[in-house]
């Protein structure tokens, strides 16, 4: 199995939208042991000037990993998911994600580098609302281990 270096520069258009629900924010906040009231209590979020519950700083990974799944699940990419290791991650927030947002993500394969028998793949998800408001840019590097690694 080899990773096609021609993947670099490929992009995947936004797929189905992700509807940000209050319970999803609460569940994710509990899951990362985030305790700020703005994740749980609408009045507390409003008191800080937000329209609704505020998602934790890494919540966008849900949307980003759904976008990454398009690449990983693309048979022409040649990626064996069981050999994928998350190497690094970045979130740049253009505006907070809040409950009620309808988000879409466009995925870009920014870099593919051969690493031993495997490859390091850097993807970028441009996340926006369905109305076109830029929300977050997430960048992930995925190490696909070679057969002998």
């Amino acid at each position: 199995m080899t990773i096609d270096p021609g993947l670099q520069g490929r992009s995947y258009p936004a797929g189905d939208s992700y509807s940000v629900g209050r319970e999803a924010i609460r569940d994710f906040a509990r899951a990362v042991k985030a305790t700020h009231p703005a994740h749980y209590d609408v009045a507390a979020a409003e008191a800080l000037g937000h329209a609704d519950l505020v998602a934790p700083p890494t919540f966008a990974i849900i949307v980003a990993q759904r976008a990454d799944a398009q690449l990983i699940g693309d048979p022409s990419a040649g990626i064996d998911f069981s050999r994928v290791v998350h190497a690094d991650q970045r979130f740049v927030h253009h505006r907070p994600i809040v409950a009620g947002d309808e988000l879409v993500a466009e995925l870009h394969v920014d870099q593919v580098r051969a690493m031993g028998g495997g490859a390091m793949i850097t993807t970028r998800a441009e996340i926006s609302t369905v109305d076109g408001v830029r929300t977050a840019t997430t960048t992930s590097s995925l190490l696909v281990r070679g057969e002998d690694q």
Binding site: A24, D27, F28, R30, A31, V32, K33, A34, T35, H36, A38, H39, L48, H50, V54, A55, P56, P57, T58, I61, I62, Q65, R66, F81, S82, R83, V85, H86, A87, D88, Q89, R90, F91, V92, H93, P96, T139
Partner: protein, 146 residues
């Protein structure tokens, strides 16, 4: 905002946080995030791919560590940029038979790494360790301050 940029200086400690992790926490994170990779909940699968045991999602550790910054700045939405590299896996032992006992412990400390008065932001550099080893490297959060 409880923190003002003018009161900060590079090197200032913002605090520490200790996060105990159980296998149940990983199942919860798997469900909440949609990341169902069995290396995070199935010991035989994890060992079969050459890992020492069930490991925490890197994104769990990243997500739990930033709480230190949220507590310090007072608003999760003030965190404009947050990044890290994942270096060492956090192996989480099975403590199901010892309720309340964590299967791994992560220690988080934070210092002010840089101040940008033009953008009114501070960069917080996190040190995140487990069992004496750095598990996140270059963990940095940029925070908007008043």
């Amino acid at each position: 905002m409880t923190v003002e940029l003018a009161t900060l200086e590079v090197g200032l400690q913002i605090g520490t946080r200790t996060v105990g992790i159980t296998r149940q926490d990983l199942v919860r994170y798997a469900g909440a995030s949609g990341d169902l990779n069995p290396i995070h909940w199935n010991p035989s699968f994890a060992e079969g791919v050459g890992l020492p045991g069930v490991i925490a999602h890197g994104m769990f550790t990243m997500g739990a560590s930033v709480q230190l910054v949220t507590d310090w700045c007072g608003d999760p939405a003030a965190i404009l940029d947050y990044q890290t590299r994942f270096t060492k896996p956090v192996v989480v032992e099975d403590t199901t038979a010892q309720p309340g006992e964590p299967g791994a412990v992560v220690e988080v400390t934070g210092v002010v790494g840089a101040i940008d008065t033009e953008r009114s932001t501070a960069r917080i550099d996190l040190t995140v360790t487990s069992a004496g080893q750095k598990v996140l490297v270059k963990a940095q959060a940029v925070v908007k301050l008043a």
